[in-house]
């Protein structure tokens, strides 16, 4: 096997796969300043020349990306990492980094002795999209790491029942109630934070693990709520299938979270719907009801986008939860 030095990346024209596109974030409270552009710091392959059947290691590092994609054979990747591939023929691997100023690319080529260059794939990213995975019982498998975040929005207006104005609290768009004090923000707010969540799904139960605050929810499927539900920040969840949609009935909340700038009572009830519309996306909806506060149900909706390149990280909110009041005091 040949062991030549690492091949320097080369710029290459490249048709960006649909999966590599990512919208810019939202939620800046004023006119946002320019975001720094995506940067590809490195893309290497070692070795860059092999015999048929041998493998090579791709390594890369990028900054400031909204999405990062290696084509062919690899897919979405994290901001830095490595990946072993065994190309059957001479192949060019292209890293596409999409950031605030659009997409940039770099490529490396692996020469497989005695083989012609791999023919470029036609633009068939949509046709090549994998199907929605299924559990052994035939239902859709929701498993994966997803980000909802600011893609989830309140749809429509908030209407209060007469006399419920006292439940209104001072809040600011983008703030999420108890989250500012390291307490669980509730449902659906935990899904609306800019942190990913991981769903682990088996036929009888769904586990939802939130990076935010290290929260988790255990959601049995096909069972009934207990008669007594001790009040909880994240409530108590039970699920059932309606066709290909997993419907989660959440009740048994305490009255300490915030919904759309309002406190609520322990009669709060949330009905979530998860439908894996594509391999890459769950359509999410949360209907929020509290007849003591809201005159009509509130509806939150938006996509949960699959991020197989991410892992849920450690988020210990109380680590440095100091009193920020001092930092905001004007001493001049």
């Amino acid at each position: 096997m040949s062991h030549r030095p690492l091949l320097l990346p080369t710029l290459a024209a490249f048709a960006i796969p649909a999966a590599a596109q990512a919208p810019p974030p939202a939620g800046f409270p004023g006119r946002p300043p320019p975001a720094p552009p995506a940067i590809i710091r490195s893309l290497t392959v070692e070795p860059d020349a092999i015999e048929p059947g041998e493998s090579v290691e791709l390594r890369w590092e990028a900054l400031n990306t909204y999405s990062l994609f290696i084509d062919p054979d690899v897919g979405r990747v994290a901001t830095r990492g490595s990946y072993t591939v065994t190309p059957a023929v001479t192949t060019s691997y292209t890293l596409t980094a999409t950031g605030a100023e659009g997409a940039i690319t770099q490529s490396v080529t692996v020469t497989v002795a005695g083989t012609p260059p791999r023919a470029p794939a036609s633009d068939s990213s949509a046709a090549a999209a994998p199907p929605v995975p299924r559990l052994p019982d035939g239902n859709p498998d929701l498993s994966g790491v997803y980000l909802g975040g600011r893609d989830l929005r309140l749809v429509g207006a908030v209407e209060l029942v007469p006399g419920a104005e006292a439940y209104r609290i001072e809040t600011v768009e983008g703030d999420l109630g108890n989250g500012v004090s390291c307490l669980p923000p509730g449902v659906p707010a935990a899904t609306m934070m800019p942190f990913p969540l991981q769903i682990v799904h088996r036929p009888d139960v769904v586990a939802i693990m939130y990076e935010a605050y290290h929260l988790f929810r255990i959601v049995p499927i096909g069972r009934e709520h207990a008669d007594y539900l001790p009040p909880a920040y994240m409530g108590h969840s039970m699920a059932r299938w309606e066709g290909d949609t997993l419907v989660v009935d959440v009740r048994g909340f305490n009255d300490k979270t915030v919904i759309a700038g309002h406190r609520h009572t322990e009669n709060l009830r949330v009905t979530e719907r998860y439908r894996r519309a594509t391999h890459e996306t769950i359509e999410y909806e949360a209907i929020v009801e509290d007849p003591d506060v809201f005159a009509a149900p509130l509806r939150y909706a938006g996509p949960l986008t699959l991020h197989p390149e991410w892992e849920i990280g450690e988020y210990v909110c109380t680590e440095n939860d100091q009193d920020y009041d001092e930092l905001f005091e004007n001493d001049d």
Binding site: P24, P25, A26, G27, F28, P29, G30, R31, P32, P33, P34, A35, P36, P37, I39, R41, E61, A62, L63, N64, T65, A78, T79, R80, A100, G149, E170, V172, G174, D175, L176, G179, V180, S181, C182, P194, F195, E211, W310, G313, E314, Y315, V316, C317, T318, E319, N320, D321, Q322, D323, Y324, D325, L327, F328, E329, N330, D331, D332
Partner: protein
């Protein structure tokens, strides 16, 4: 080392009002003036790479040629890692240029969206840009 404070004139007239937010409201943007983006260059004095938000202090020379200390907060460590910023990328003694929004109170406190390191590399440090 010559330090400079690059503050657009619009950033000087910071609205001095306190938002109605609770103590410990570390996640809240309500205390920042999102309409006034400022850029400051200075030397890092401390970095607390910790949850809920990474905090950094740095010394800046103000318009009166006085050395003053600013504090800035960034996103949590997990998000910074996903943007590509490592925990060991910033350390005391480094010259940095920070862009962000200042506290409404007029305190030398800011919420950063970009930090430029001495090698010229600009890093995203906020999920909102």
């Amino acid at each position: 080392m010559m330090l400079r404070a690059l503050m657009p004139s619009s950033a000087v007239a910071i609205v001095a009002c306190l938002a109605a937010t609770p103590a410990h409201a570390h996640h809240s943007w309500a205390r920042y003036d999102g309409d006034h983006v400022i850029t400051l260059t200075g030397v890092v004095t401390t970095v607390e790479w910790a949850n809920p938000h990474v905090l950094m202090t740095f010394t800046v020379t103000d318009e009166n040629a006085q050395a003053v200390e600013w504090t800035m907060e960034m996103d949590p460590p997990t998000l910074l890692n996903r943007y590509g910023l490592r925990h060991d990328a910033i350390s005391a003694g480094m010259e940095v240029t920070v862009t962000g929004v200042p506290a409404k109170s007029g305190a030398r406190m800011m919420r950063a969206v970009t930090i430029e390191l001495a090698d010229g590399t600009k890093h995203r440090v906020s999920s909102r840009v």
